[in-house]
Amino acid sequence: MEALRGVSLTVQNGEFIAIMGQNGAGKTTLVKHFNGLLKPTKGEVLIDGVSTREMSVASLARKVGFVFQNPDHQLFCETVEEEVAYALRNFGFKERDIKRRVTWALNLLGLTQYRQTSPFMLSGGERKRVALASVLAWNPKVVILDEPTIGQDYQQKEKLRQFIVQLNAQGKTVIIVTHDVEFVAECNPRVVLMAQGKIVAEGGAKQVLTNRDLVAQASIVPPQITQIFLGLKDLELPTDVIDVYEAMRVLMDFLEASS
């Protein structure tokens, strides 16, 4: 079965990208090519100039960390500490380094108090964070997050957003796969829209998500803020607004000018 067709995409070092599209558009299939879980039947995927065909998943994973959608698909250890250390052992880190990195990763995601807890005793959101910690622990250059916002409440989403932005600011390449439009609007990354195995559009979040026809192709709707502005077109307000704070400023200016 052909899942992707004519996909050409370049991701720069340190970029922040959101891959969006409806279910079955090929988002996850595409990112599984980035760490060699899937190899292209035609064409090439190059990571740092090396084709994924020539490298094993394990050696690619060292560079490209992949956090799967469902943490229950990877948790199996008796303690959170062991879970985070698992990948480090696979990559052959020294015992002392493992300890240091585990402490660092747990601290980063606020999981220190669960160090000796079984991952199966944690809540859904916490399990998701353990999965994230277990990948970040080996400090990969690229981090791929598959549907990071599913099953998270608003506060956790906000924390996650800040965390992702922070990771990106530290120079990591971050790729998220999602159809959470509001989340993407707040993150403001480069957006790659997919539909039926093809990339239908790519560009800044502001440019792509405010284009009603484009997002309709990928079966998503523009963010709520954009919908308001699209509805207020008659007032000659700008229609390419996705950010809440920007929206407030524009509206305040407009109200002041008209009063």
Partner: protein
């Protein structure tokens, strides 16, 4: 997973698919009995090829070939074990003795015949019909339901195993690395999440069923009722005749061993 591919039902319509599962099951049982009855190569070869017209009639050649290929590894083992152990523990004279070879081949073929007929049955019988057949055979509904559910969740579980494997590979797991014990241990990170999620899913399924009033009515009725048609009676009759013929041959006919046809 290739062995299970041969058991995966695909919804198509063919004369064989439309047969009553009870008649088909009877046919499979007859094959089972006949295959166990004979330990000579000739009748087993016959049994193997007799089934091929059914496979073609059902249009499941590709799946059938796949299940045969999946079974071939086990078949090789069976051949090897029979060959080696019969040589050491019986009075067969020399290692490459044709009769020993024939016996081992016959045992292997017996296995293949069994796989063939069972895969034939599962390939052409939908899980729903199977459950229905069980129910109409007065098996308690709880058991029928458990059975059909189990069958239906096999592909789901296979898919989940694949995802888990991917997730662990992304964390540096290399399944093919290390010695034998290490390789076995490599599967722990896959088995634990798989089992945990299967248990979790079964609990969720139980809750979902109860919230839809499972077991509320004592006497269930079915939308579809299986009914034996002419073709089903014909298949049952053919099966009975085959069985009778086989038993007769087994009792009264000398079965030539394949060595007879070899130049001495």
């Amino acid at each position: 997973m290739s062995v299970f591919d041969g058991l995966r039902f695909r919804r198509v319509s063919s004369p064989v698919h439309r047969l009553d599962p009870r008649a088909k099951f009877f046919y499979v049982c007859v094959f089972f009995v006949i295959a166990v009855l004979f330990n000579k190569l000739l009748p087993l070869i016959l049994l193997f090829f007799v089934q091929i017209p059914f496979v073609v009639l059902a249009g499941v050649q590709r799946e059938w070939v796949r299940s045969m290929r999946g079974a071939s590894l086990f078949a090789a083992f069976i051949f090897l074990f029979n060959f080696v152990f019969t040589y050491f523990y019986t009075e067969y004279p020399r290692l490459p003795s044709p009769s020993l070879l024939e016996y081992s081949l016959a045992m292997t073929l017996r296995f293949l015949v069994l796989v063939e007929s069972f895969s034939m049955f599962f390939l052409t019988t939908s899980p729903d019909h199977l459950g229905l057949a069980l129910e109409q055979s007065r098996v308690p509904y709880e058991f029928c339901f458990a059975f059909t559910t189990a069958v239906r969740f096999v592909p789901v579980l296979a898919e989940e195993a694949q995802t888990i494997m991917d997730a662990q590979k992304a964390r540096g797991l290399e399944l093919e690395r290390g010695g034998f014990m290490k390789r076995v241990r490599n599967y722990i990170p896959i088995l634990i999440p798989l089992i945990v999620s299967a248990i979790r899913r079964s609990l969720e399924l139980a809750e979902a069923m109860e919230s839809r009033a499972w077991g509320a009515s004592e006497k269930r009725t079915n939308l579809y009722v299986l009914k034996m048609k002419k073709a089903d009676y014909a298949l049952a009759l053919i099966s009975v005749l085959m069985l009778a013929l086989a038993v007769y041959a087994w009792l009264y006919l000398p079965i030539p061993s394949i060595t007879v046809f070899l130049p001495s």
